[in-house]
């Protein structure tokens, strides 16, 4: 398998405060990877560094073999990266339909209507809310909309920043089930940032553990889950 996304020795800082220290990370083509860690470990910063969103980075970031570090956010996502940001990034004043059309705004292929139907298959509630202002949606619906918007980009890699944040457990399970299906059926690679380690470990094929801006462990979910310190710190066992 070849790596779709590679980070080599990536430092990242906001102003004078350095957050990431030499992070190495790989997401394989079609792979599903979780990035776990406590609050403030640098999970969100890692995703922001990949898309060059308001962080200064050093080191090497490659997507599909090409260097992307230092490029503008809009150029990076145009290569095929869908980013579901922290806080969902909903266009609150626009309708659900407009939010989805914005996902496909850079595309000119004829598949847009078909993709819209496809995302309604995953998230049927969005079809019901189509002409509603996105700001009136519940938190769970907005999370689905954020994922759906990123899917409309037709990305090769999906970056997900805490999709379970603030949602009811049942809803979280539904969303994660859908992510699994999308990963399997569309061979879409995913890098998932999660607080809910237990859920993430069930879902993914590879795990990175981040502590104060450094990768302290990585491997198969089984190996990570077996680690005594991880069990204590993240699984509450």
């Amino acid at each position: 398998m070849t790596a779709l996304l590679e980070l080599h020795g990536v430092d990242a800082s906001y102003g004078p405060g350095q957050v990431l220290h030499g992070v190495n990370l790989e997401v394989d083509e079609g792979g599903m990877v979780a990035l776990l860690g406590a609050n403030g470990a640098g999970k969100t910063t890692t995703l922001r560094a990949i898309c060059n969103m308001g962080v200064r980075t050093r080191g090497e970031i490659r997507f599909g073999g090409k260097r992307i570090d230092g490029r503008a956010t809009e150029d990076i996502v145009r290569l095929g990266i869908g980013h579901v940001p922290e806080g969902r990034g909903t266009f609150l004043g626009l309708t659900v339909e407009e939010n989805l059309r914005l996902g496909a705004i850079r595309r000119s292929d004829s598949g847009i209507a078909g993709d819209m139907t496809r995302v309604f298959g995953y998230f049927p509630v969005l079809r019901e809310r189509l002409h509603q202002q996105a700001g009136t949606l519940s938190g769970g619906e907005q999370q689905m909309l954020a994922i759906a918007r990123a899917l409309m980009i037709k990305p090769r890699l999906l970056l997900l920043d805490e999709p379970s944040f603030g949602l009811a457990p049942l809803l979280v399970q539904e969303i994660f089930r859908n992510l699994k299906v999308i990963n399997k059926e569309e061979r879409m690679s995913m890098l998932l940032v999660e607080q809910n380690a237990r859920l993430a470990l069930e879902l993914v094929g590879k795990v990175y553990l981040l502590e104060t801006g450094r990768v302290v462990a990585s491997g198969l979910p089984k190996q990570i889950a077996a680690d005594e310190s991880v069990r204590r710190a993240y699984l509450g066992q």
Partner: protein
């Protein structure tokens, strides 16, 4: 009664100018949260371009379209070459840049075209069939032209991809970048379109107020009043505010304060709105924690 009706209707005609200017201001405010104090001067400069084209013998409507094209490019250029570099600076820096632009464009117009007032032609003939007892053909014409331009602007924003991208860039720049929209170019396009709206206002106003470098100083004041009255963040409210201010100006000028004090009315509206209803008639209240 007839006199009142006349004042009302010609207020609507004057309001058409304010509506265009107000919409131009709101467009830039929505996208950048800056009030473009140089909007009126941009419009004035465009009107001089139209004047030069017309006196060079180009038919009015061709000159009109060429002027709109010039104004679009000029607006985009000002954003890319000047405003763009101050995007991350404080609001105060922006205000200073806008005032600087105002002075520069004003002086440039004076230098190139002199400060002498010039007559500006109206494309709507003096005796046309659509003139009535209440409205001159030019007044009818400027209402119609403004309504057409406003309709085009709204259809553009509502129904085109580019319009959607521009609305998205104004509402949430970060999320817009994440779907691949070049936000800073969207802002430049917004400046171009605001330039076009201003040019329409300038060309429609010039036959009445004459062409001179300071021709827009009064108009822009009413434009501010209109934009604030309609709600500075509401593109639907801006034209409505424009028409209301136009009518108020005429009625008050005729019956309350007289023509000498008419301009004070615009200031009164601005102060009243900011004091009693800062969000305007149709705006949302935005609370900022400091």
């Amino acid at each position: 009664m007839q006199a009142l009706l006349h004042q009302l209707l010609s207020g609507v005609a004057g309001g058409a100018i304010y509506a265009s200017v107000a919409l131009a201001l709101v467009m830039i405010f929505k996208a950048t949260h800056h009030v473009n104090f140089a909007q009126g001067e941009l419009a004035m400069f465009s009107t001089y371009i139209a004047y030069s084209l017309i006196t060079a013998g180009i038919p009015y409507w061709i000159a009109f379209v060429l002027t709109l094209m010039f104004s679009f490019v000029f607006g985009v250029a000002v954003q890319r070459l000047v405003i763009h570099w101050f995007r991350d600076r404080s609001a105060l820096a922006a205000v200073i840049v806008f005032i600087g632009l105002l002075v520069i464009i004003n002086s440039m117009a004076g230098f190139l075209f002199t400060y002498t007032q010039k007559g500006f032609p109206s494309p709507f003939a003096g005796q046309a069939w659509y003139g009535t007892t209440y409205l001159s053909p030019h007044e009818v014409g400027m209402i119609v032209v403004t309504l057409i331009v406003l309709a085009i602007v709204f259809l553009f924003f509502r129904f085109t991809r580019l319009g959607l991208a521009m609305r998205a860039a104004a509402e949430n720049p970060q999320s817009s970048r994440l779907v691949g929209i070049r936000v800073s170019w969207m802002l430049a396009l917004g400046w171009g379109m605001a330039g076009v709206l201003g040019a329409v206002a300038g060309m429609m106003a010039a036959p009445n107020i004459f062409l001179a470098p300071d021709m827009m100083s009064g108009v822009i004041l009413y434009g501010f009043a209109a934009a604030l009255l309609g709600g500075i963040d509401n593109p639907w409210g801006a034209p409505i505010g424009g028409f209301i201010v136009g009518i108020m100006e005429n009625i008050a000028g005729a019956y309350l304060v007289g023509t000498q004090l008419k301009q004070a009315l615009a200031l009164a509206v601005i102060v009243a709105v900011l004091t009693f209803k800062p969000s305007g008639l149709f705006g949302r209240t935005v609370v900022v924690r400091v």
